[in-house]
């Protein structure tokens, strides 16, 4: 973190403080969610976002137990459905900053269709993908990102189906914004969240999240040894899709983190709507009785 950002944080400590919650946190010690929560509050503060203009949406999972741990408008819905719920909020009021959280279970299994179509539709939502490589809240069943061979609750002899790589899927869908970050690096997460908040469209941020309780092999140390910040590589061009796909999938020795892919050309959902070009108001501001005389003519 630069001196500059520390200064801004200090200057805006009241804003940071407004997001602080008195609720007792219920995560395991060492859980990646602590850092994610922190980084998010920092990002809000650094972006100078007023509490009233932020809506935090949570899926059901361990991350979802943080849904009442940041003081802001939050909505904690159903397992696997958070992206659609957030898209409803964002389409009704594009003036809000809508942030959605989902685990690897909810996002890649229960509700994977929502992910695909949200990327396609390009709703203005910052999506934080809490990838802790297991179903933590249901006590450690394998998810579709659990490594092959790993014994888990419900897979006593080890996982026997190949895992999938979320970014392979996401990058195949012509996304607008894709980043990867790591729950052990609050500064890096803060930067990625800030970038995502500034993206006009669906911003997918995969967080490699440690789960000390159920994902025992993928420890903080394991990740720390492997992650490499793409920002250190001056040749890396985040607008190059082929390069992005390579970085996303080649994770055997090193795992690239940072802004992986960015396509600023893609239009946000509201800007695609043929009948709402140039409309300045948000749908929520337009709710009032509408004249139907013209419409009735067809039926006279």
């Amino acid at each position: 973190m630069t001196n500059n950002t520390i200064e801004t944080l200090q200057k805006n400590k009241d804003l940071y403080g407004s997001y602080e919650s008195k609720e007792v946190i219920t995560w395991c010690s060492g859980c990646g969610n602590y850092g994610i929560q922190n980084a998010l509050k920092r990002a809000f503060t650094l972006e100078n976002l007023d509490q009233k203009d932020v809506v935090l949406c949570y899926d059901i999972g361990c991350h979802g137990n943080g849904s009442d741990k940041i003081d802001a408008f939050t909505i904690h819905g159903l397992h696997g459905r958070v992206i659609s719920l957030a898209a409803g909020v964002a389409t009704a009021n594009p003036k809000l900053n809508v942030i959605a959280h989902g685990g690897d279970g909810g996002t890649l299994s229960e509700g994977v269709n929502h992910l695909i179509h949200a990327i396609r539709s390009n709703y203005k939502v910052l999506f934080l993908h809490h990838n802790n490589s297991n179903y933590a809240l249901t006590t450690g069943q394998p998810s579709s990102t659990t490594p092959l061979g790993q014994p888990m609750n419900s897979a006593p002899d080890g996982v026997y189906i190949d895992p999938l790589n979320p970014l392979d899927l996401v990058l195949s869908l012509n996304p607008g914004f894709v980043a990867r970050t790591f729950s052990g690096d609050i500064n890096h997460m803060t930067e990625m969240f800030r970038k995502g908040l500034n993206h006009n469209g669906f911003a997918f941020v995969e967080i490699l999240q440690v789960c000390p309780t159920y994902s025992r092999t993928l420890t903080k140390e394991w990740y720390t040894e492997r992650v490499r910040d793409l920002a250190e590589n001056s040749d890396y061009d985040p607008t190059n899709l082929e390069q992005a796909k390579k970085v996303a999938s080649e994770i055997e020795k090193e795992i690239g983190i940072g802004l992986i892919y960015h396509n600023p050309e893609r239009k946000e959902f509201t800007d695609l709507l043929p009948n709402r070009q140039g409309v300045e108001t948000a749908p929520v501001e337009e709710v009032k009785r509408m004249n139907i005389q013209n419409l009735l003519k067809e039926f006279e």
């Binding site: 003081d71 904690h76 159903l78 179509h117 039926f299």
Partner: protein
């Protein structure tokens, strides 16, 4: 009341629908009241369809099982529907080899039918037209038999085919040629002197217009018959309304987006049929605990499974009432015709916002896709009631106001962005500001608070309505489209000296029973009319009141109740 009915039969995709619509609109423009009914299979081309137009000089809301005039647009239609023609009725067709259709010959003799025939294809081709234009010839011939002025029909044809001027010219030639036919069967139909101020519209479009009138700004849905044309209508009119219309990737998405939009402060709803609604039920339950306003329209078709996609029923009342796990406040409304569809969607939105509950509005294929003449929709009749805390009151809010325990079960609601006072909208059990709790005392109180809304709604909802005569010979109770056939029957039998009345439910859940008990006590023979096998509303009423129906008229074959079918039931039951 003198009823007339014309049935067009032919292959799906052969222009039957547009011909039927032209006919219905032309009759309306002459001054008739109209009810239409379409029967068609779930496919795009081929297979058999019919389009029936029932019309009268007085309001008419139902179909008969037979037709006075049958228009056979092909051989198959003629063979299969000729026996649906009333004895002594008229068959119009253009099938050249009709001499070889033994079935037609036999039925014509047995049923003393009059036949009007023109070599339609030959005539169409003589003007450079094709097979589709034979429809115009049959219409022209029909018009001659009806002895109506050609102009209203011509106008409709022009309106419909305005975008294809070359074809229109041939169409009009066909129409004129057939209208000049001589020696056609005689028929005298009474015509209204003055044209009533009506519109001819179906229930789905009416729901769309009701939504627009009520300030719906976002609509999310996944296509499913017979609800799909709500989506396509709102899309077709979105330049005019400015509405954000999104075809979602599935029903779960549609309902979730609708909830998100309502939470954010838009007015939104979604529409589907039974199967799509099954997928939504987890979300309906979530809306219950989050106290998030939600409106879902179910345009019913017969299940189970894929069932009969293009047919009608009232089979999903129990589904709507019991949808979603857990117990919580929820309302179920129904509409009965296009006018009520226009109104009920507005009430549904108000109830959802005022009481902060999921509301299910039941429609039926029979209402959704059948055009009927109804009074022109009145504007500004139903105020928009949002139950939102706004303006200066926002400053006084505390987070705990959002789910505060109240006597009515209803707490304050406000939208994100409108104030700094945030709250947690939580589908986990929670306390007054939405913070998660598992404490017994708080969990119990909150569970009960949400259910208190049922009592509040029960006391504030309108009673069911009685139609028809006092001191009736026979009485009925029902909901949905049953009202249409009952109103027609009541009126008709009045002139025959038989007294019938009918208690109609528009608000089905929470279920009001006072008026029902009163109705039961006042009338000697109360029957149930319902479009399902279990008599679902009847069962609920019997269980709640211990009043048992004398008899039940139930139907579950995909068809709506026919006028004559109810008459027969009354004949068989009224003096028992």
């Amino acid at each position: 009341m003198k009823r007339n009915s014309i049935k067009l039969v032919g292959q799906s995709g052969s222009g039957l629908l547009s011909t039927g619509e032209i006919l219905a609109n032309a009759l309306k423009n002459i001054g008739f009241y109209i009810n239409t009914d379409r029967e068609f299979p779930s496919l795009i081309k081929g297979g058999h369809s019919s389009f029936q137009v029932d019309f009268s000089t007085e309001p008419i809301r139902s179909s008969t099982s037979y037709a006075d005039i049958l228009i056979g647009m092909d051989e198959h239609g003629l063979k299969n529907y000729v026996d649906k023609t009333r004895k002594g009725g008229i068959v119009i067709h253009g099938f050249e080899r009709h001499e070889k259709v033994m079935k037609l010959k036999k039925s014509v003799e047995e049923r003393e039918l009059k036949v009007a025939y023109l070599p339609a294809r030959e005539i169409a081709e003589s003007f450079g037209g094709n097979v589709l234009m034979t429809n115009m010839i049959l219409l022209g011939l029909l018009w001659k038999i009806l002895d109506f002025p050609l102009e209203p029909l011509e106008e409709e044809v022009k309106k419909r085919f305005a975008s294809k001027p070359a074809l229109l010219e041939i169409d009009l030639k066909c129409l004129h040629k057939a209208y000049e036919s001589e020696d056609t069967p005689d028929l005298k139909i009474e015509v209204n002197k003055e044209k009533p101020e009506t519109i001819l519209i179906n229930g789905n479009y009416a729901i769309g217009i009701g939504g627009i009138q009520a300030g719906v700004r976002t609509f999310y849905a996944y296509p499913m018959s017979p609800a799909s044309s709500i989506l396509s209508y709102l899309a077709a009119t979105y330049h005019e309304s400015g509405m954000l219309v999104k075809q979602a990737e599935d029903e779960i998405t549609a309902v979730q987006m609708t909830m998100g939009a309502m939470y954010a402060g838009s007015r939104a709803f979604t529409a589907t049929s039974g199967g799509g609604f099954d997928l939504m039920t987890e979300s309906v339950s979530a809306a219950g605990i989050m106290e998030c306003p939600l409106v879902v329209v179910i345009a019913q078709r017969p299940g189970p499974g894929t069932g009969l996609p293009t047919w009608t029923c009232q089979g999903d009342l129990n589904l709507a009432i019991h949808a979603g796990h857990g117990e919580y406040g929820k309302a179920v409304l129904a509409c009965s015709d296009p006018y009520s569809a226009y109104e009920q969607i507005q009430h549904a939105l108000n109830i959802a916002e005022k009481y902060q509950v999921p509301v299910i509005l039941l429609s039926e294929k029979e209402i959704a896709e059948s055009m009927q003449t109804v009074p022109r929709f009145k504007e500004d009749q139903i105020p928009i009631e949002r139950g939102l805390t706004q303006g200066k009151d926002l400053e006084e809010l505390k987070s705990t106001d959002r789910y505060a325990i109240t006597d009515s079960g209803v707490s304050k609601r406000w939208i994100p962005g409108s104030t700094k006072t945030y709250f947690y909208s939580n589908s986990d059990e929670h306390w007054e500001d939405g913070v998660l709790t598992e404490e017994a005392d708080k969990a119990g109180q909150m569970y009960e608070k949400r259910l208190k809304k049922m009592e509040t709604m029960l006391s504030e909802f309108p009673d069911p309505i009685v139609y028809g005569e006092e001191d009736a010979d026979i009485s009925f109770v029902g909901w949905g489209s049953s009202k249409n056939v009952m109103l027609d029957v009541i009126e008709y039998l009045k002139s025959e000296g038989v007294k019938v009345n009918y208690l109609h439910y528009d608000y089905l859940w929470p279920l009001k029973t006072e008026k029902f008990v009163e109705f039961f006590d006042k009338n000697k023979r109360v029957c149930l009319i319902e479009g399902n096998h279990g008599g679902q509303l009847g069962q609920l009423l019997e269980d709640k009141t211990n009043k048992l129906f004398a008899s039940k008229l139930l139907k579950f074959d995909g068809r709506a109740f026919f006028f004559d079918e109810v008459l027969e039931f009354i004949k068989a039951n009224h003096d028992k």
